[in-house]
């Protein structure tokens, strides 16, 4: 049930309008009803937000919710609730489920499951190709009608440039953006970690940065040629960041996202052989990390997306060659991103832009702003709150994180989706 909520004295940030100041926000009937100083509303639930940031809810363009098919890793319910816990009011779930979300019936199944959850909104991303095989186009029009918000074969690259070209062109008819997992699969075959001096020393099979770079360049070229948009998922290399920067300067409709782990930790961690450091794209070098930070600062990188990839504990305890790629990210994204604010890479308004305003814009989703009439998707977070990452406390079924035991500053306190409070553990 939607209720009337009055958020008092919070630092309200809406990068879409350049708003950053203390004021009140009144939420009514699922929307922002009023904003301003000293608002009052009889019968409203009052939330005292002094010292807290009131932000448009975060939107994650890249999560894996594992349902259908891998419910032992995560479900739409646990994933949606984990998102809400992390301050996300919407997540876009990738198509690499079992069965693959490459047709309308799977899309509808996901939305049906999501509708039953009182957590973050769930927007399905449809597969580009049938079965993620990279060969034939999936039924894109049908999926659009059923509710997909973008298209991606994420987890796999569309290796055939001809297929990608047709996908970009065809998807444009439905206003859908192609999200590419940029990775030349021949160059990374069997790889476990970034290829370089660390992999040379450890004898771990390498995944070279050029595998990402060459496909990013290829995709940018195809997008420029067709004058179609392309969104590059989980950018992780200096080469790819520089290609996107140049493409944006040239007017190509390219956008991209970066995951918190790619601006926080490096390949050096693989010395532990701990599979919680195994992800795809892999953790890169200090230099790549610096390039990702700079891209986030200067606007080359449009948004932060977690690539939330839950796995069962036993799967991450397999030999490093056999353990699956990926880590969970929804509940650590804010804390890790806040480190960039503390390091002076950018300010809080840019952080909100990266986590909310820009992702909404890229896929054309509701939210990402706080103004009268806007949907009441809001998170209230404490930018200073110190906390220690304990995977056992995650709402997500996935506990696979390399950040266990890390002390982070910055935590979400309360999440409102469509005017309803869905997360409020400390009862603000």
């Amino acid at each position: 049930m939607s209720e009337t909520i009055l958020i008092k004295n919070g630092r309200v940030i809406d990068p879409s309008r350049g708003v950053d100041g203390v004021q009140d926000v009144l939420v009514k009937d699922g929307a922002v009803a009023a904003m301003g100083k000293d608002l009052a509303a009889t019968g409203a639930k009052i939330i005292e937000a002094k010292g807290l940031v009131v932000s448009p809810g975060f939107i994650d363009l890249h999560v894996h919710l594992r349902e259908p098919g891998f419910e032992y890793k995560e479900t739409i319910a646990t994933g949606s609730m984990a998102a809400a816990a992390g301050g996300f009011t919407a997540v876009c779930c990738m198509a690499n489920t079992k069965p693959v979300n490459d047709n309308a019936s799977v899309t509808r199944f996901i939305l049906e499951k999501a509708a039953a959850v009182n957590g973050a909104r769930v927007y399905p991303i449809g597969a580009i190709t049938k079965g993620l095989k990279g060969e034939e186009l999936a039924e894109i029009g049908e999926m659009k009608k059923a509710g997909v918000v973008a298209l991606s074969d994420d987890g796999r690259c569309v290796m055939d440039a001809r297929v990608l070209r047709h996908a970009m062109d065809y998807a444009a008819m439905f206003g859908l953006t192609i999200v590419e997992h940029c990775e030349d699969e021949h160059l990374v075959k069997g790889g476990v970690m970034n290829e370089g001096e660390t992999s040379a020393r450890l004898g771990i099979k390498g995944m070279p940065a050029i595998a990402e770079n060459v496909i990013a360049r290829r995709d940018i070229d195809i997008a420029a040629y067709l004058k179609r948009p392309v969104h590059i998922a989980h950018i992780s290399t200096r080469g790819a960041v520089e290609s996107v920067r140049a493409a944006k300067a040239a007017g190509t409709a390219v956008t991209c996202e970066a995951a918190p782990h790619h601006f926080t930790i490096t390949e050096k961690n693989l010395e532990s052989f701990d599979a919680n450091y195994k992800m795809n794209p892999p953790l890169r070098t200090e230099d790549d990390l610096a390039a990702v930070k700079e891209g986030l600062r200067d606007g080359t990188i449009d948004c932060i997306a977690t690539d939330h990839a839950p796995h069962a504990k036993w799967e991450k305890e397999l030999e490093i060659d056999h353990a699956p790629y990926g880590i969970v990210g929804l509940e650590t994204a804010l804390g890790l991103s806040m480190q960039l604010v503390r390091d002076g890479v950018f300010g809080l308004p840019r952080l909100v832009e990266l986590l909310s305003t820009n992702p909404a814009r890229i896929f054309g989703l509701p939210g990402g702003m706080l103004k009268e009439g806007a949907v009441a998707d809001i998170c209230i977070f404490d930018p200073e709150k110190k906390w220690t990452v304990d995977p056992a406390e995650f709402v997500s079924a996935g506990k696979n994180t390399p950040f266990a035991g890390w002390e982070l500053s910055g935590k979400n306190c309360l999440t409102i989706v469509g005017g309803r409070i869905v997360y409020n553990p400390s009862n603000l």
Partner: protein, 313 residues
């Protein structure tokens, strides 16, 4: 010896850098003593009586597995070999579960060979007994490096300032990585030689000289270590044919002429005659290939003795 033993008891041996130079010298000295045991008529001492050693091999191996088994038996330990040709994943039981099950039978040491780098290190974290790395992927093969060091040390009286060439598939070689670490620790100068496709990208991190020319690699060297070339690498497109490989990288008598007159030729085996090493060189006067195998038993006796707490007997 007492202090050496105390230092080792209950520890793991996962990689060369787990050891200090002093500790390695301690291992060498112990191995020399055990070498004599293998020369006796009764090749058995009671040192590890009542101890249990399990060797858990996820990869084919003749030398290493047999060598550990003989080493354990000559020390009177009970040695149990478990071989599985497939990885734990396809087998149905995870590696973790296999290790925990073996650990539950209370062995004193587990020797792990595994195609995945880091598997022995993981076993060490959960096993509750000493874990010895019997070779993990392309990461490390510490007992091989130790027995190689012993072989060189015995012939040359030391390792410092020796010039050593390692020729062959460096990219996939745990033997190369462990040997480089051990040799450099003792002040040797190491050159690696391979086609660029068989060198790791970032080879600079290994702190070695690099050449693609075997003549250059061998010239003025005190020690030349050859590595086996696997036909599988050809299928991966890393070189065109064994014929072409051997044309450029085979250690022939002719190539060997540019080495020092007292050069030592080594190879961890198994050798491919006529591919990476000419038959006459493998069998020739400079070859220490079989001596390495003999030292393998002595060194593994030393490792098992020191890790399994032989000091008490």
């Amino acid at each position: 010896m007492d202090t050496v033993e105390k230092k080792f008891r209950g520890r793991h041996l996962l990689k060369i850098s787990d050891l200090t130079a002093d500790e390695i010298m301690g291992l060498l000295n112990t191995a020399y003593k055990f070498k004599d045991v293998s020369e006796r008529e009764i090749k058995k001492v009671p040192t590890l009586r009542g101890k249990t050693i399990v060797s858990l091999f996820y990869e084919a191996s003749t030398r290493t597995r047999t060598s550990f088994e003989i080493a354990g038996k000559r020390l009177s330990a009970d040695v149990i070999n478990i071989s599985t040709s497939s990885s734990s994943v396809t087998k149905g039981e995870t590696f973790k579960d296999t290790v925990l099950n073996i650990a539950a039978m209370k062995p004193d040491a587990i020797v792990v060979r595994h195609p995945s780098p880091g598997a022995p290190a993981y076993a060490a974290r959960i096993a509750g007994c000493s874990v010895i790395n019997g070779g993990d992927g392309a990461n490390a093969h510490p007992t091989q490096a130790l027995l190689d060091l012993m072989t060189i040390h015995e012939k040359k009286g030391g390792v410092e300032d020796l010039k050593v060439a390692i020729v062959g598939d460096i990219l996939h070689s745990r033997v190369a990585r462990s040997n480089i670490n051990a040799l450099k620790m003792f002040g040797a100068e190491v050159t690696v030689c391979a086609p660029p496709t068989l060198l790791p990208h970032g080879v600079g991190a290994l702190g070695v000289k690099v050449t693609h020319n075997i003549h250059e690699a061998v010239a003025d060297k005190d020690v030349v270590m050859m590595l086996r070339i696997q036909t599988e690498r050809m299928q991966q497109g890393l070189f065109p044919s064994l014929r072409e490989y051997s044309e450029h990288f085979c250690l022939s008598a002719k190539v060997l002429k540019s080495a020092r007159p007292d050069v030592l030729i080594m190879h961890p085996g198994p050798i491919n005659r006529g591919v990476e090493i000419a038959s006459d060189v493998a069998d020739g006067p400079y070859s220490l290939i079989l001596s390495q195998v003999t030292h393998g038993v002595a060194m593994r006796m030393a490792v098992l003795y020191l890790l399994c707490g032989g000091a008490e007997s």
